[in-house]
């Protein structure tokens, strides 16, 4: 096994980080939306397989074994761990806690069984909705007790 730059606990199960993370599996990709930040993501087939295994409650080791057919190369280990590190950094997954229920979506078999040439997992980030989620917090209220501020289009 290679070094683990993300300090990911490979023997530990991670889980999807809360109910504000929602996703949908399509044949060719998974689309994940963070309803708190407005960011959304596209995952390629390898990333899709990893995502579904993590969401289903697998440990990182078992996820690597599964997507690499039990014989991961050092490069594959690094790519999967790097990908999981990005999922953590984006706030999409977190270390599993007692009581976390697996949130398995339908596992797209073509992705999971991606035999042949290994394709590194990719995570494409779309942040074009972020502005709508980053309005200034409420600070001031008027004499009636209701907030008031200049209008801006949403």
């Amino acid at each position: 096994m290679s070094s683990n730059p993300q300090s990911i606990e490979t023997a530990k199960a991670y889980s999807v980080a809360g109910s504000k993370i929602v996703w949908q599996c399509f044949e060719e990709e998974v689309v994940v939306i963070n309803l708190e930040s407005g960011n959304y993501y596209s995952l390629n087939p390898t990333a899709t397989a990893i995502w579904n295994l993590v969401a289903a409650g697998g440990t990182i080791s078992s996820v690597v074994d599964d997507v690499c057919k039990g014989a991961p190369t050092e490069e594959q280990w690094e790519q999967v761990l790097g990908f999981c590190g990005r999922l953590i950094a984006e706030g999409l997954i977190r270390p599993g806690e007692a009581g976390d229920a697996p949130r398995a979506g339908a596992l797209p078999e073509p992705a999971r069984a991606a035999a042949g040439a290994w394709v590194a997992p990719t995570l494409t980030v779309y942040a074009d909705m972020q502005d709508l989620f980053q309005l200034d917090p409420i600070h001031d209220v008027d004499e009636t007790g209701w907030p008031s501020r200049p209008a801006e289009e949403t």
């Binding site: 044949e27 990709e29 309803l35 309005l135 004499e143 009636t144 501020r149 949403t154």
Partner: protein
Amino acid sequence: MAWPSEAGPSEALAGAAPEAFFTAVRRSFEAAAERAGVIERRFQIGDRVALLRFAGAALEELLTPALAHLPAPAEAQPELTICLFDTRSTGVAPPPPPWGADAYGVRGEIAGFNTTRLRTVYQPGSDILLMLDHQRGEAFYWISDDRKVPYWERSFPLRTIFHWWFEKLPLQPVHAAAVGLSSGGVLITGASGSGKSTAALACLDSDLQFAGDDYVLVRHGPEPHVYSLYGTAKVEVENLARFPRLRAAVSNESRLDSEKALVFVSRFAPGKLIGGFPIRALLVSRITGCQDTVLRRATAAEGFRALAPTTLSHLPGSEREAFRKLSALVREVPVYTLEAGTDLPQIPRRILEFLAHAEVA
């Protein structure tokens, strides 16, 4: 100036249960209606009827033109009653909010006041209080000053309340334009600046009918259908030159330095409005800069990425239900990219060709 509140002292409702606050707002509306008089308007929203009860004329004049093409008969039994009032014109304020400053979510959702029965948002940027009680089939809309209703609110009034209303039904407002014929048409989606509105407006000069340029209501299922919600069009000022016929119909001419041009299609070209049609495809709009317009087959995932985030980001609450409905819709209709060219008449031509082909198929 402090307006009279029907709830009494500011502290009266602090920490109150959501139901008690709804009751207090209802009393405020009734007091406002008593002072200013009630104007009732019924509208056909999808396959349902909503009754809008205005306390006075101020908000009625601002918010109903966008819905004017959807009148429902006076005897129609409403499934939802929406009570609307403002403080400036009626002199009545709702009680102060019983929640603290930390209760406002990023899109105005009020923590503790959103349950399976109740929805509450203080709309950021426009300072409009929106509330819905599923159990009573009743909603409230309040703004302190009718003169502060933003132009964009006039272009798609009540969209969040409609979103909540249809929470448990296969109906969903979506951020998309819709053009077509009574036999079928297309949704056109894409983020702001993707050419969605331009494509829809280009169709006004064709045989295609117009169901909306920004928000429409879809019903997913075996026979997906779109219903018109708003008979409005918003145009970037720099884009107005491409639609000279629209220029004379702009409703906010004096404020174009800070607002998009707002056109009420029901006044400008009432014959072009259509109540709805079966959905034959979802088009993801893209501006190419090329002259020609091309339709290319795309994946359901591409359609979902174009439609779901932009819709969900504008509509607080009920996100999971909306997510599920949008997931279903993009699987029920084919998805294409609409690579919109600079030769505007080509856009409706390509869509009409597609619809003719879809009809045969």
